[in-house]
Amino acid sequence: MSTGEVIWGKEGWPGPEFSENAKRAVEDSQLRRNVRKATGTIRERRAGLVAETPDWQELRHAGAAIKDDVLHHLDDYLEQFERNATARGAHVHWARDAREATQIVTSLVQATGHKEVIKVKSMATQEIGLVKALESQGIVAHETDLAEMIIQLSNDRPSHIVVPALHRNRAEIRQIFREHMPDAPKDLTDDPLALAEAARLHLRRLFLKTPVAVSGANFAIAETGGLLVAESEGNGRMCLTLPETLITVVGIEKLIPTFRDLEVFLQLLPRSSTGERMNPYNSVWTGVTENDGPQQAHIVILDNGRTNALKDQIGRQALRCIRCAACLNVCPVYERTGGHAYGATYPGPIGAILTPLLVGVENAPQLPFASSLCGACYEVCPVEIDIPTVLVKLRHDAVKAERHKAQDATFAAAASAMSGRRRWTAALKLAPLLRFLKHGAPPPLSGWTRTRDLPDPPKQSFREWWTKR
């Protein structure tokens, strides 16, 4: 199965070797500062809003329960969604993987006869590498989310699910606009208002002249066949309302049973993602409405590894994810590496479990280890995904999938030493040897002693003291 660009590892972008990517990232002082500042700001805003929501834990339970119901009855809900969307005038297409999805979207665009499309920010289209796939067929796709536009202009990669240009500061953005945006004013400053105005004028021209749009969706409502996009800028709404043709790519796990379930998710999502009580723009559309909005509506329902994830009894909870990125914002690892180090579409704690679940752990064996298991991600997750437990389960799968002789032998030796009183007492006699490694141990312990001392071994073990007292 082709999984598109879930893993990059090609065309000069970082591969899935997290520890190598992370090493480079922590040495980048500008990146460190940008990511720390941005995640810190969103983190505080979220914490304030959660504190003022008395039923926050109940909302989390409800969000998890609704999503679990969807995952348990996915077949029913998918068919219900297709029936209702079709009855309201939308065309529903099914895509097993990235290749099928990009082919469907490409032929739909080609059928319109147009060579340019405007795009709403979407993780699903990112995941299938849609922009590049369209480009290879001579179709130009313009990202219209401000941050995605910055990324596209600078031929960069998103580093965050909600704030994809989070690794850039305004001075860098000014430079990108001056170099890559042909209609940017000559005297552009790094004042956020000036930068936004330049982007606004640039995007307005695109909105008014482009009759085809591609979007993702935050929620697909089985009961009505409707779709919802939540956003902050209104650029998404421009794409969703002005064009003649709208093509939406949506993962099978984005379903919710009823319109009323939005009550739960539209409280959870904005507080968790951008630290707002409500998304500035919630656009809901259902099929086609005569003389109002796009008159051609297509929906591409995407699997691309999701049924693989569904097979994993522990891991399937990752499919509850509503892409809020709260786990990224609180993650001490993400805060220091940024998103590129994860080498995949989905960075941070959720990416460390979702990527291996989608593409198979043997194709991303380092990602489940990209965590100190501190649990901050689980604490904030609005749909209660127990990320640390899924990480441990995937680590287990990873060491089974890919044998590392030295490591396997070390852990086997340790387990053997711990298998009984006599062996353990004998092993404790080795502790004094630590003295020789204190300031500089050989690999793999050298990673530790490069920045930390090892402890001084004690004169006697605890059990020695106990038995002699």
Binding site: P332, G375, R395, A415, R452
Partner: protein
């Protein structure tokens, strides 16, 4: 009430003072404690590295089944016993072991939980006239949810100058084998934690887990920061103002 101490492999091998202090503290409070010598390790390091060892889960459950309560001077080991043993047993397909492990896990307490919830005291009569800052440690805080128990205990120590650690809910970067597999990210996290510790002007960094302290202490020693690390038990056991074991 028959109470057993699970010292943890780390304390047994490298930090016996934390174990000795736990024994002295409990005995001073009138609670005798036993140390079954067949105990070894809870298997957390193995499991968190991807190697599930149902044998270690069984060993823990078998060794401690006969006791009314088990005290563990470590938030992460107590967390592993209470929240990981059943999971590891189930992953090996042994449902009976999972039930057995869960039953023993249910009477396993981290030290501050045992003092406050079982012995019903938050004043252990300690005296420790030093400037101390407390790191709550991720697994005590998030897996066990010990809440303010350790701070209540420390606040009642005579003579202590307890200062709040800035950004204390952030991980120190240890994460067991994480610190070896991703040493650069771990070191970056440690640098920020050390900065917070130094900022407090404390002479002692205290925590309920020797593993996190081994990590932060290893960093503080390397830069000769002049801050020593002590386990919660070592401060609570002190009646003469020193932490001598």
């Amino acid at each position: 009430m028959r109470v057993a101490l699970f010292s943890t492999c780390l304390v047994d091998a490298l930090f016996p003072d934390a174990g000795k202090a736990t024994v002295r503290l409990l005995e001073r409070l009138g609670q005798p404690v036993e140390f079954p010598l067949e105990q070894t390790c809870c298997g957390q390091m193995h499991a968190n590295s991807g190697y599930f060892e149902p044998g270690l889960v069984r060993r823990y459950a078998d060794v401690f089944a006969e006791y009314d309560a088990i005290v563990v001077p470590s938030g992460s080991c107590a967390g592993a016993i209470r929240h990981q043993h059943e999971f590891v047993a189930n992953a090996s397909g042994d449902k009976q072991l999972a039930r057995h492990a869960q039953a023993v896990a249910a009477k396993t307490y981290e030290l501050s939980e045992f003092l406050i919830d079982v012995l019903d005291t938050d004043d252990v009569g300690a005296y420790f006239p030093h400037r101390v800052t407390y790191h709550p440690t991720c697994h005590s805080m998030r897996i066990l949810g010990v809440g303010d128990r350790p701070l209540r205990l420390l606040n009642n120590v005579r003579g202590i100058d307890l200062v709040t650690l800035p950004r204390n809910t952030e991980c120190c970067g240890f994460g067991g084998t994480f610190s070896i597999k991703n040493p650069d990210v771990s070191a970056a996290m440690l640098a920020d934690k050390m900065e917070s510790v130094i900022e407090t002007g404390a002479e002692v960094l205290c925590a309920g887990d020797r593993s996190c302290l081994m990590h932060i202490g290893g960093g503080l020693d390397r830069i000769r920061a002049g801050v020593r690390t002590l386990h919660l038990a070592e401060i609570l056991a002190s009646t003469d103002g020193t932490a001598a074991a």
